[in-house]
């Protein structure tokens, strides 16, 4: 029997209901907003004393004063004299709690009078209905944090079936920037999932889109600032306090094509950083991501479909064309367009296969422009370096760094990767059974207003149907109110860090009590409010600092590589495959080659990963005859010059 903390009270003006009750406590009781309490009823119902669990949502304190003026009068307007009163005014601490659970559940009655106790571990488990999934052989519990109140310190678990599907799925995180909420919480929760997701539920991996700065660039590096309290939290929650063991980074090249466009460019970390490049085939499937409705009318759409179905990746000939084409890259597509338009001009044709020349020119302009707009990601030559779809590894993290890319390129990457994940999960050929897709700045990709975009439609699709496939969206944003309602509405679990008061004033937070909103706006680092399908009310938990190096510390510890020359970029890329590659060797090898040719050779070598890197690389460069010095030629004796006075000389 725990100590009595308070007593339930109810008045006609403020009655108790089945979902809310009131209680008072001593002034020094360890009760606060978010505290979970147990009420032991005094009157048996159906022969059993009812027990109710609640979480404190509001607190009141007042005295027996009718008006503050009476206190002013009582102290002659001198606030400093209050301590001289021999008696302290009677004061009350009155709390309102939202019911988490009734035991027994039926009949559902208003909470009756009774004693109030601080919830212990078992109470917390019962109150949050964790007793159904956090214990036993078939447990599906994923620790999300530690609930603390008074002397109680209880782990709070999410149900994997409701976090990663199939019952419910998806997670949404809100919080102001810079207070270790969103990214830290996701890093912590992924670690927890990897540590606790039951093996019999299948294999799980994560694909994280790094959309800003170096946030997710050092997930495989250990944290430098874990203190004892963090380690204790990790131990209590059963999660190893160590960085992710299996992380792969993907980033497109910069526009120049020398280096990868990522802040994880330090050579010491290059071993698991891979290029992300796509060719025509990959991009054409998602042309609508990059082409807005103004670009694509029905006629243009028809031509694009024709190109996709009849031109790309197959021999194509036509009487208008000067020669046959096999289009496999943007460069070859441009050649095809040029040949076609030239042929039409030569034959003075205004249309070709029902497509008007203006439509052809427009589509040519828009499609060939893609490789320019997404330079670094989209290659003219069709080189493809992609995520290992089909060979995803269990408990692996795949980070796609799109932080430094243009919006178009970001959208294209997101759309294609998610589509691939979806297709592979549908066909069970991804390599894992569940994929967590983490997207930050969700309000940018799935805004509540603005035009319909391909990416938003895709996010809606994941949110509404992804759980059946094992495609789980973990999304974060600063302002939840600015995200499409159907996206956040389909997230079974929601985490809230410190919130902006203006955001809390929006209608989406109206169900929270003013005190809870106030607490949300003043949450410390490492604190979260959690909503989960099993919890009838949100609860507050504390989680440890991530065991991985933060982005800010990472860029200090692993400074970004300096702007590279072509030679050094190639050296670095090849050295990952063959450490014997030196800068001098590369300089000698590419001395006569064009820049595009060198980059193409490097990309092909990276894709092929040959045993003999040097030979393979050199074989990708055009053979050239070595220049010979003109000085080595035999000198021919000059002709004798004419006499100065020769009138016929030149």
């Amino acid at each position: 029997m725990t100590t009595v903390l308070g007593r339930v009270v109810a008045t006609e003006r403020r009655p108790n209901t089945p979902h809310e009750f009131h209680f008072w406590t001593a002034l020094d009781s360890p009760v606060g907003i978010g505290t979970i309490v147990r009420v032991e009823g005094a009157t048996p119902v159906n022969g059993a004393l009812p027990v109710a669990f609640g979480v404190v949502t509001e607190g009141f304190g007042y005295t027996d004063l009718d008006t503050p003026l009476h206190d002013v009068l009582g102290h002659d307007g001198q606030p400093g004299s209050a301590h001289q009163s021999p008696t302290r005014r009677t004061e009350i601490r009155l709390y309102t709690a939202a019911v988490l659970r009734h035991v027994p559940e039926e009949p559902l009655q208003p909470v009756g009078m009774g004693t109030v106790h601080l919830a212990d571990d078992a109470d917390v488990a019962a109150a949050l209905r964790m007793d159904g999934y956090a214990f036993g052989e078939n447990k599906t519990a994923i620790p999300v944090g530690l609930y603390r109140a008074g002397a109680t310190s209880s782990p709070v678990h999410l149900d994997a079936d409701f976090l990663l599907g199939p019952e419910a799925a998806h997670l949404n995180i809100s919080g102001v920037s810079g207070l270790a909420t969103k990214t830290s919480a996701v890093e912590w929760l992924l670690a927890s999932i990897f540590a606790h997701f039951p093996e019999k539920k299948g294999r799980v991996a994560a694909v994280c889109f790094n959309v800003k700065g170096p946030d997710l660039c050092f997930l495989d590096q250990p944290a430098t600032r874990l203190d004892d309290s963090d380690r204790a939290l990790y131990e209590t929650l059963g999660v190893p306090a160590e960085p992710f063991q299996n992380v792969h980074y993907y980033a497109p090249y910069t526009a120049r094509g020398y280096a990868l466009n990522t802040l994880r460019s330090n050579e010491a970390l290059a071993h698991n950083v891979h290029p992300l490049t796509w060719g025509l085939r990959e991009v054409l499937q998602f042309a609508e991501v990059l082409l807005n409705k103004d670009d694509i009318d029905a006629k243009a759409d028809a031509l694009i479909d024709f190109i996709k179905e009849r031109v790309v990746d197959q021999p194509f000939s036509d009487s208008v064309l000067e020669h046959d084409h096999t289009v496999q890259s943007f460069g070859e597509l441009e050649g095809w367009f040029r040949d076609l338009l030239h042929g039409m001009e030569a034959k003075n044709q205004e249309s070709w296969r029902t497509h008007h020349v203006a439509t052809i020119r427009k589509v040519r302009n828009r499609l060939t422009n893609i490789s320019t707009r997404c330079r670094g990601l989209v290659t003219d030559d069709g080189t493809v370096s992609d995520l290992p779809f089909g060979a995803f590894e269990d408990r692996a993290v795949y980070v796609v760094d799109v932080a430094n890319l243009e919006e178009d390129a970001q959208d294209l990457i997101f759309a294609r990767i998610v589509s691939q994940l979806r297709e592979r999960l549908e066909s069970r050929t991804l390599g894992v059974d569940h994929v967590v897709v983490f997207v930050d700045e969700l309000n940018k990709y799935a805004p509540s207003d603005g035009p319909d975009t391909y990416v938003r439609a895709m996010l809606l699709d994941i949110a509404e149907r992804g759980r059946y496939l094992g495609l789980v969206l973990f999304a974060a944003q600063q302002f939840r109110s600015q995200v499409h309602r159907r996206v956040v509405g389909n997230c079974g679990t929601a985490l809230f860090g410190r919130m902006d008061p203006d955001e809390l004033a929006t209608p989406g937070y109206a169900t929270l009590s003013p005190a809870t909103r106030t607490k949300l706006s003043t949450l410390e680092k490492g604190q979260l409010m959690v909503r989960h399908p099993h919890f009838t009310q949100p609860v507050f938990v504390r989680f440890p600092r991530p065991a991985v190096l933060s982005g800010r510390e990472g860029v200090e510890k692993f400074p970004q590589a300096l702007e590279q020359t072509l030679e050094s970029a190639v050296t670095r890329a090849l050295r990952v495959l063959d450490p014997s590659v030196t800068l001098d060797w590369v300089k000698e090898s590419i001395a006569l080659a064009e820049e595009d040719e060198v980059i193409r050779a490097r990309n092909k070598t990276q894709m092929a990963k040959p045993e003999d890197v040097k030979s393979y690389f050199r074989s990708q460069l055009k053979r050239r005859v070595a220049p010979k010095s003109t000085e080595s030629r035999a000198r021919v004796a000059p002709l004798k010059s004419s006499p100065p006075d020769d009138p016929y000389s030149f």
Binding site: G74, H75, S85, P86, T87, R88, R89
Partner: protein, 342 residues
Amino acid sequence: MAPAADGAGAVGVTAVGVTAVGVADVLRALRAAPGAPEGGWRLETTGAPSLERMALEMEPPRLEAALPIEGEALSYRVLDAEPLAGFHAFLDGIQSTRVLQYLPGGVPLIFGTVAAVVRERRDRELHTWNGEPDLSTRVYVPTALTPAEHLRTFDAAGIPVHDTLDGADASDGQHPQLLLTLARTAVQRERERLETSLAERWCATRDQSVYVDGGISGAGLAARSPHAVGVVKSHRTLYASGDGVGVITRLRAGQRTTAFEIRSARRTAVASWYLRLRDGGDPMFALVRIEVARDTFTAERADEVSRWVLAERTPLALPDQRWHTMAYGIADCERYLRAIAP
């Protein structure tokens, strides 16, 4: 705890560990009993206010000469020293009555509740001394005018009954208003009994001062104790004559009169003086009369006790209308008793 009056306890309600009979218990017992009046037993709701609210005849204000014991005649003294917290506890009681029913002949059947408590001050907070108050609930009836079956019903239900006629014969009947007055007096005496009992127990077991609401001259042994200090807020009897009245009415805040002795045949002699707590236009505003045991009186003690009472001016006892004379500790006693009384 008040003595379980006349076998009370078989029926009751619980409030902070106190078991007492409530109005509902009485009505329940009566409904189950034979001899119900026409229309059945019911709570009288019309024309039957609480007796405390009835405009009962009261003694007219009067002056009464008292024997000076500090100087030759009543005069005033200025308290130079600052107020000082000296009380360790506060004692007060409450009473309430309800007319349950008028029996044939206009005989009132009255339910009375009285309670008294000592609220002890520890670390500037007030706590109930001994953990609970003294409480008494009874039915007040003139037994000679009450049908025998009703009395048997009360007895069977364990409801204590107080005879307001105190055994006197009333075979010729009584005026209903006189019966109400008798009931009110009986309830008041019961309250005084509880308060006296509490004050005596405090003084017998504690050697610290208790602030008693009202006079202490009727408080039995407490009236002789150095630990009981009575503070009287109402002044229908002003203990002064001639120039003494002016001395009292012209007192300024922090001034007291010289002391005098109050003696009566049925009460214990006490030393008393007037003290002005606050300045105001009304001659009786913030005026209290303090009583201490006669044998303990000295001028220095009067000054010291006056400083104690002055210290209790804060916190204000607002919103009580008597805030200008009432100590916060006494207001707390009343609030506590009203919260727990059935």
